[in-house]
Symmetry: C2
Subunit: 240 residues, 2 copies
C-alpha cells in the first residue's frame, strides 16, 4: 500500500502501530534492523531510519547487541509549547499592543546576577513593560539584560519594539530555561495588571543564554483566569 509515502515512514508507522495496539508490549524486543529490512523488503539503512526516529520520539530504546525494546510510555514527561505573546493574543481574537513602562540601568540583584552569570552589583539593563490584549493586560514583564552579551542593546529605546522581539532577531542564543509556577499577586503586581491583591497569576521565569553566557532573564506574569498554556497533539519528533 502506501503509494507516495517514503518507505521509512511506512515502516515506522507499522512498528508504531504494533506498539500502540499492544502487538508489541512494554519491554518487548523489536526485530533487528536486518529482520525489519527483510520483512519490509528494504535496505537496512531504511529500516534503521524508521527505528531511529521511533527512538528519538521516545517509543523505544536502542542498545547495541541488546537490541531495541519498547519503552514504558511514561518516560520523559510531555512537551508543551509556549507561544509568543503576540500570537497568543491574536489567537484569542484580541488586538495586541505593547507598552513600555520604564527602562534603566541598574545594579544586578543577587538573583539576576546568578541567572546571568554576573557578579552582584554588575550593571544590567532593566526593562518593565506590558502586553495588552484589547483593553486588558495580557502579560506584565520584568526583564534584565546583560549589556555585554547583547551588543547594540544600549542604543535601543524599546519604545515601540518589545525587548523580546528585538533580542530574538538581533542576539543569537543557544539555551533557554523556563520555570512556571502559580503565585498570588503582590500589591505592586496587582496594580500593574489591574487585578486585586492576591489574585492568582501564572508566572514564567525565563533565562536565555549563549553557550554559558547569560543574555537576559525575565519574569512574565499573566492573569490566571484568562491565560492558558496549551499543548496540542503535536508530537513533532523529528522529520518536520
Amino acid at each position: 500500500m502506501s503509494g507516495q509515502r517514503p518507505i521509512y515512514r511506512t515502516v515506522k508507522n507499522a512498528l508504531q502501530h504494533r506498539i500502540e495496539t499492544g502487538a508489541l508490549r512494554v519491554g518487548d524486543q523489536l526485530p533487528s534492523e536486518e529482520a525489519i529490512a527483510q520483512e519490509f523488503d528494504c535496505s537496512r539503512l531504511t529500516a534503521h531510519r524508521a527505528v531511529r526516529e521511533l527512538a528519538a520520539e521516545g517509543f523505544v530504546e536502542r542498545r547495541r547487541r541488546a537490541g531495541t525494546t519498547v519503552l514504558p510510555r511514561e518516560r520523559g514527561g510531555v512537551l508543551i509549547r509556549i507561544p509568543l505573546i503576540r500570537d497568543e493574543v491574536a489567537a484569542a481574537g484580541k488586538s495586541y499592543r505593547y507598552e513600555l513602562i520604564d527602562l534603566k540601568s541598574v545594579a544586578a540583584s543577587a538573583r539576576v546576577a546568578s541567572d546571568l552569570g554576573l557578579a552582584q552589583g554588575d550593571e544590567v539593563l532593566a526593562v518593565r513593560c506590558r502586553h495588552w490584549g484589547d483593553r486588558t493586560v495580557w502579560q506584565y514583564e520584568e526583564r534584565w539584560i546583560n549589556p555585554a552579551a547583547a551588543p547594540g542593546v544600549q542604543d535601543q529605546s524599546f519604545l515601540r519594539t518589545s525587548p523580546n522581539r528585538w533580542l530574538l532577531t538581533h542576539v543569537p542564543y543557544s539555551d533557554v530555561t523556563h520555570e512556571i509556577t502559580a503565585v498570588a499577586a503582590t500589591k505592586a503586581q496587582a496594580v500593574r495588571l489591574g487585578l486585586a491583591i492576591g489574585a492568582p497569576l501564572l508566572q514564567t521565569r525565563r533565562v536565555t543564554s549563549l553557550h554559558g553566557t547569560g543574555i537576559t532573564t525575565v519574569t512574565l506574569l499573566h492573569p490566571g483566569g484568562t491565560y492558558t498554556l496549551r499543548s496540542g497533539p503535536a508530537q513533532d519528533g523529528t522529520s518536520a
Copy 2:
C-alpha cells in the same frame, strides 16, 4: 578535531556554529548538500543528515530547488517538560506517597463528556486522589476515565497504584493535550490541599486519547508556592 564524533555531527555543529555566531544570518542561504559534502569531504548523505537535523530543530528551512535558509529563531515557541509526579517529588528530596480518596462510577458532566468524546450522562469512572511529598500535599488529582477505552479498568481498586501509573502501563495512547493555568483555591480544593481559600494553584488539565478515542481526562492541582514546571536546555530535536 573531533576524533570519535560522527562526521554528520561535526558538520552539524559547524553549521550551527555559523548560525549562532552570525556568520550565517537570518535569511541567508546555506551551501547546497553537494557543496557541504565537498567542504567537509564526506558523502552527500552525511551532509544531508546534518542539515536535516538542523531543520528538525528549527534552525533552518529547506525547500527543493530554493535551497536551505536560516530561519528567525523565534518561530515555534519553546518546549517544556512535564515530569511525572513521583520523579518531581523525588527530585525535591521528599518521600513520595500516593493516597486514594474515592473511586466511583458517575454520569459524565458536559465538560468530561466533551473531553472524552462521549455523550453527557454516559457512565465514566471518577477517581480522586492525592500525591504527597513528605507531609505536604504535592498534587491533588481529579480524574475521569472512559471505561470503554480502558479495558480492565473496572477491576482496578487504585488503592495502591495511582490511576496515572496504571493507565500508562496498561492502556496505549497516541495523543495528549495539556492546558496549564493559575487558579485561586476554592473552599473544597483548599481543604484537599491543606491550604487557605484563595491560595494560588497551578492547574493542569490533561486529556489523553488514542487515535480520536478519549481515554481519560484529569485536573491536577499543585500548590503554587512549591510546585514549578521546568524546561532545561534540552532542545531534543531528533537524534537523542
